[in-house]
């Protein structure tokens, strides 16, 4: 079922299924050709499509309600996070550590010739920059909430590319609850989850894991270059500081079940978006076609409408399957 999570894959599956159904329907045209039979089929499939549309509309209302309920819950928590969890005393040292890491690893990446090592250092710079920008956005929102002037201190540390990301981040936060998406993004980028000895080579590691790796490398190289001892100590200090500060934020986030709430919202958003539009295309189109055909169907037009009725009747079976999938998704919200 995971493949159905990507809209393109789902559309392709549905289109292929629709193609097969149409072919199948055309091949079975001769099976039923009496007017009475076709009228019964048309009336039944129209009723089926109508019922499905009703259920899907009810589903939409349910998911919309669920989405609003979840966003209200998160919105109610947001001011508390901005004022009590993301306090300046926490944010300032985090930003200082991130800046120091960016500077250190930019230099290290420029000085190494080994591709794997350079990739690791560049990864650290990218992640540190991403967290730095996310915190800058949060700080901006926090200052706005408190009615204080926006600090240009963090912005002055950004190059044009980072500033672009920062501005986009600010624009993307349109609702209060969206600060949690940013906070979760920060903790996900930062924190290491236990990875296996073997998995280490293949997974996208978080900043914490990359920093540990870099410390191990610096330790190996410092015999030939004593200045790396200081660099390693600095990195270790930044890692420990980040772990402690971000760890606290992450703990609070998990205690408040924010990741689960965000995941439910995402699911509800998918259902009211992608799934709803697909339902409209695959149910409303044949329904409209049936409704248009119903008054026109007569002994004289049977032969003309027979192939279309065959297609829509098989599509109704497919619609029922789609409906089951839709209901399954709704139940998981």
């Amino acid at each position: 079922m995971n493949v159905l999570k990507t809209p393109l894959a789902l559309i392709v599956v549905l289109l292929v299924a629709a193609g097969l159904i149409i072919t199948f329907a055309w091949m079975n045209l001769s099976m039923s050709n009496s007017y009475a039979d076709l009228r019964t089929v048309l009336t039944t499939t129209t009723a089926v499509f109508g019922t499905m549309l009703g259920i899907i509309t009810a589903g939409l209302m349910f998911t919309q309600g669920k989405f609003s309920e979840l966003s209200s819950e998160l919105t109610a928590k947001a001011p508390d996070y901005l004022s009590k969890v993301l306090v300046m005393e926490k944010m300032q040292p985090i930003e200082t550590y991130l800046l120091a890491l960016r500077k250190t690893f930019t230099k290290l990446a420029a000085s190494t010739t080994v591709v794997e090592e350079r990739n690791l250092y560049e990864r650290i710079v990218t992640k540190a920059s991403s967290i730095f920008v996310d915190f800058a956005v949060l700080l901006n929102l926090k200052l706005k909430q408190q009615g204080l002037p926006i600090s240009q201190l963090l912005v002055s540390e950004m190059d044009s590319k980072l500033y672009g990301v920062y501005e986009k981040g600010l624009k993307d936060v349109k609702r209060e609850w969206q600060i949690f998406t940013l906070i979760k993004q920060i903790t996900d980028t930062c924190e290491a989850h236990t990875a296996s000895f073997i998995e280490k080579s293949s997974i996208t590691s978080p900043l914490e894991a990359d920093l540990k790796s870099s410390i191990a490398i610096l330790k190996l190289k410092e015999k030939g270059n004593k200045s790396l001892i200081d660099v390693r100590n600095e990195v270790a200090k930044a890692l420990s500081g980040l772990n402690s500060e971000v760890g606290e934020i992450s703990k609070r986030l998990h205690d408040d079940r924010i990741p689960q709430l965000l995941s439910q919202m995402k699911q509800a958003s998918i259902i009211r978006g992608k799934y709803f539009y697909l339902a409209l295309v695959f149910i409303v189109t044949p329904l409209l076609s049936n409704l248009l055909m119903l008054p026109q169907l007569s002994e004289g037009t049977v032969a003309f409408y027979q192939p279309i009725i065959a297609v829509t009747s098989v599509l109704s079976v497919m619609g029922v399957i789609f409906l089951l999938l839709y209901i399954h998704k709704i139940l998981n919200v």
Binding site: I198, A209, I217, L220, G224
Partner: protein, 163 residues
């Protein structure tokens, strides 16, 4: 295992992670330096992990059973599948279907893999045995079968016999 012990072990493995071999090996290969440091790092990591595992689980006996228990914990927390083969008073062996050496970049030669396999296995196994059985009380052998394309690699730990 009690929940608190499991939590402490989880924290232990998060704190003492092994160096990233896929990054380290190409660097060491190109610079030709740091092999001894890598062995020392592996040794120190596993020595610290072994001491803590013994403390957390209250393992006091200095025998092969404890060596086996420590390996079981290490493999389980590093998500390394393993299959015990033999456990006697003087010998413990197990096999593994996968190892980090298999995942090191494709451009790394078999000779280099073999050299680093020796460094890592020597460092790790010695750290565990030294801390459970006592310094230089055990030896470990490994057949490098995975590097040579076989399905499983076997590690054998034996007590050093006093002649």
């Amino acid at each position: 295992m009690r929940k608190s012990a499991e939590k402490r072990l989880k924290a232990l493995f998060a704190e003492h992670s092994t160096p990233p071999l896929e990054v380290i090996i190409p660097i060491l290969e190109k610079t030709g330096q740091g092999e001894q440091e890598l062995t020392a790092q592996i040794y120190d990591t596993y020595a610290a992990v072994t001491k803590e595992i013994m403390k957390i689980l209250g393992l006091k006996q200095k025998n092969m059973k404890t060596v086996a228990k420590v390996w079981e914990i290490v493999n389980s927390f590093e998500k390394q599948p393993f299959e015990p083969i033999e456990l006697t008073e003087s010998r413990f062996s197990f096999s593994i279907p996968d190892c980090p050496m298999v995942h090191v970049g494709k451009d790394i030669s078999q000779k280099v893999r073999s050299k680093f396999c020796d460094l890592i296995c020597a460092g790790g196994s010695k750290a565990i045995m030294d801390n459970v059985l006592g310094p230089d009380s055990g030896v470990c052998r490994w057949d490098k079968a995975l590097i040579h394309g076989a399905g499983r690699c076997t590690l054998v730990f034996e007590l050093v016999r006093d002649e």
